[in-house]
Amino acid sequence: MTLKEVDKKRIVTVKKVNAKGSFKRRLFDMGFVNGTEVYIEKFAPLGDPMEIKLKGYNLSLRHVDANLIEVE
């Protein structure tokens, strides 16, 4: 399952980041590594991007990018 498929208000754990190069590094920097817990807070009024909580802060990311993050 990827982060994109998770419903609102659910908590999931990151398994793997399937991105490449600079984007992968950026995801690492923001805390997406194996074992990180993520809470899905909400979706923007137009449906995309989404807002999530991880490591004690709030982050927004798009569905396309969330699709690269494997969770369980």
Partner: protein
């Protein structure tokens, strides 16, 4: 004794600039959205003149992927730098410490300034500072930059570390055996290269090679043979694991996901699925209402003051001291008319900047990007590109600099190039002047339509650029949504003052000089003092005016104003003020709501249609010199 140089490093929005201002007593602009500081700034510490302080751009990491991160890491290893002060947001410990782990790797003495301790307390959290210091092996000082708490303590430790650098050399973190083996293998290879001019520690370079850091591998011409991605993932994972265990030991109460803060609750309303967009529209409308309607009231007062008090007093004073007629004319018509004509719009500017400052400081700006990202993507830009666009309503210069937060270089080019279409504060006086004169009762609507037109133009141009010159894949969008904060009145006023000061300075310098020049060329020709229609100015204006004939404002007065406006858009107004002797007349018309009965010259020169055409031209033609300079610098062209 030599001076000690410290650098402030930390995540975006962790309060570095606030601390910098507290330390140096200077007034740099801060805001509650990530990426306010985009250049490194220097200053001297007020309490201890022996300390120089450099404010580095905020970064999440020290990779080679963005300009700011390269600036930051290159500076940290610079010989000139003695101590790194790492600002860590106490409310967001885990992610902030990731950068700390990388700063430690660079080998310079590090002190952690644990910021926002007041907020940590408010959230009912407790951080054990001693434990954190023990675990990390570096000094940690709790501060609140906003309230200037703990600053003396911090400076004391800075000097202590500076005087005992060897003692405070941070110990590099150890990783699992697998990674350590790779590190020592690469370390040996690097050592053999015998890099004399490299400032980076060898162990750090080895780590960067594992992370396949492009800059380092190119610099030392050494590539990790098998691009071992698994190892790279593992390295980051181990770092976070260690940080996680440190945080668990030091953070006594950890907030759970389902414990919502006040900020979360505010956000549920402001970015609500149904109300989010209407609320955004309302906020924008309110901003303009404040600028035009409320600002307009003060503008009339100010104008009345200049016309009824300043001008008569100065006039009678000049007559009293027996000033020559030309001098009277220079001061009354040229300087008071020209500079006063621009200063008259100060209230509008103040309210506009006040609104922008509030949007920045509360944390709403980042939400604007969040709400509008999907729409912005339709034209090929990210939601983040919207922030500089709103700032452009104030002034295009800082707005263009703010585009540095966009990761994708091509997106940044587009964002820079479309920014001048956002009607800046300097164009506002032109709109207010002409719309009050020609569209009484509808001035707010007319002005608003120009803002919209500029915005639409920006969107269209962005779309065209994206499809032609700057084709690229959509860049990822990862943006921190900062906690909503009550803006500090001090910060808002400070920022407002900085911007207002800019405007007044411009009125006192560029516009002052321009007013004198305009006064001269409108009152004289080669034979001496003449009527306005025989002047140099009329001759110049007449020469160019045929170009503007098709646009409906082919009179020499308008043409001359446009040329003068290249210098600064406000000059258009001061120019017209001198030509048409504006000022009191505008106020009267505004009060009477009647345009036809006044200003015979202005209404003879323009019809409603040509006045609108003139405003559109002001909106769309060349940006002012300062903006052109900034664009040139920022695009390196």
């Amino acid at each position: 004794m030599s001076t000690c140089t410290i650098a402030l490093a930390g995540n975006p929005n962790s309060g570095k600039t606030t601390l910098f201002n507290v330390l140096t007593g200077s007034n740099h602009s801060v805001g509650n959205w990530p990426g306010v500081t985009v250049e490194k700034k220097h200053g001297k510490v007020k309490l201890n003149k022996k300390i120089d302080v450099v404010d580095l751009p905020g970064t999440y990491s020290l990779t080679a992927y963005s300009m700011e991160e390269r600036i930051a890491r290159n500076y940290i290893v610079d010989d000139e730098l003695d101590v790194v002060v790492n600002i860590v947001d106490g409310t967001n410990l885990e992610r902030n410490l990731f950068l700390t782990s990388q700063i430690i790797e660079l080998g310079k003495p590090v002190i952690i300034a644990l910021n926002m301790m007041d907020e940590v307390e408010k959230n009912n959290e407790r951080i054990s500072i001693d434990k954190l210091s023990d675990e990390l092996g570096i000094p940690v000082i709790g501060i609140s930059a906003l309230k200037a708490d703990g600053i003396e303590n911090l400076l004391e430790i800075v000097m202590e570390v500076y005087n005992n650098k060897d003692k405070y050399q941070p110990k590099p973190w150890k990783y699992s055996k697998e990674i350590e083996n790779k590190i020592s293998e690469l370390f040996n290879k690097i050592e053999k290269l015998n890099l004399i001019d490299s400032k980076y520690p060898n162990r750090w370079m080895a780590l960067k090679l594992i992370e396949s850091d492009k800059e380092i591998s190119e610099k030392i011409n050494l590539r990790i043979d098998s691009r071992n991605e698994e190892l790279e993932d593992k390295l980051v994972e181990e770092k976070y694991k260690r940080i996680g265990s440190i945080v668990n030991k030091c953070l006594e109460t950890k907030r759970k996901f389902n414990e919502f803060t006040a900020s979360d609750k505010i956000d549920r309303v402001l970015t609500n699925k149904l109300f989010g967009l209407p609320i955004f529209g309302m906020i924008m409308y309110l901003t303009f209402w404040l600028t035009f309607n409320v600002g307009g009231i003060f503008m009339d007062l100010l104008d009345g003051f200049v016309a009824d008090v300043v001008q008569p007093i100065v006039g009678s004073f000049l007559i009293g001291v027996g000033a020559a007629e030309w001098l009277q004319s220079l001061i009354i018509d040229g300087i008071i008319g020209g500079v006063g004509g621009v200063l008259m719009f100060l209230p509008n500017i103040i309210f506009l900047f006040l609104a922008i400052s509030l949007l920045e400081d509360t944390g709403y700006m980042a939400r604007v990007a969040f709400i509008l990202d999907k729409a912005m993507r339709k034209i090929g830009l990210s939601g983040k590109a919207f922030i500089p666009m709103i700032m452009g309503f104030g002034c295009n210069v800082p707005a263009i600099i703010a585009t540095r937060t966009l990761e994708n270089e091509k997106d940044r080019m587009i964002a820079i190039l479309i920014n001048p279409f956002m009607s800046c504060g300097a164009r506002l006086p032109v709109y207010v002047l002409l719309s009050t004169a020609f569209f009484p009762g509808n001035e707010a609507l007319v002005t608003f339509s120009l803002y919209i037109l500029g915005f639409v133009m920006a969107i269209i141009m962005a779309f065209i650029f994206k499809k032609t010159l700057f084709k690229s894949e959509p860049s990822p969008f990862l943006m921190e949504l900062p906690t909503y904060r009550m803006p500090s009145i001090k910060n808002v006023l400070l920022k407002l003052w900085l911007r207002v000061k800019d405007y007044i300075t411009k009125a006192g310098t560029v516009i002052f000089v321009a007013s004198v020049v305009v006064w001269f060329i409108l009152g004289y020709n080669i034979t001496g003092a003449v009527g306005i229609n025989e002047s140099f100015g009329a001759a110049i204006g007449k020469m160019i005016s045929p170009i503007f004939k098709p646009l409906g404002f082919g009179n020499w007065q308008a043409s001359l104003s446009l040329i003068a406006g290249l210098l600064a858009k406000e000059v258009v107004v001061s120019n017209m003020a001198i030509i048409y002797g504006l000022g009191d007349a505008v106020a009267e018309a505004a009060l009477e709501g009647n345009a036809s009965g006044f200003l015979p010259t202005l209404s003879a020169a323009f019809s409603q249609v040509s006045a609108y055409a003139f405003m559109v031209f002001i909106l769309l033609y060349t940006p002012c010199v300062a903006v052109i300079g900034t664009i040139k610098r920022e695009t390196k062209s």
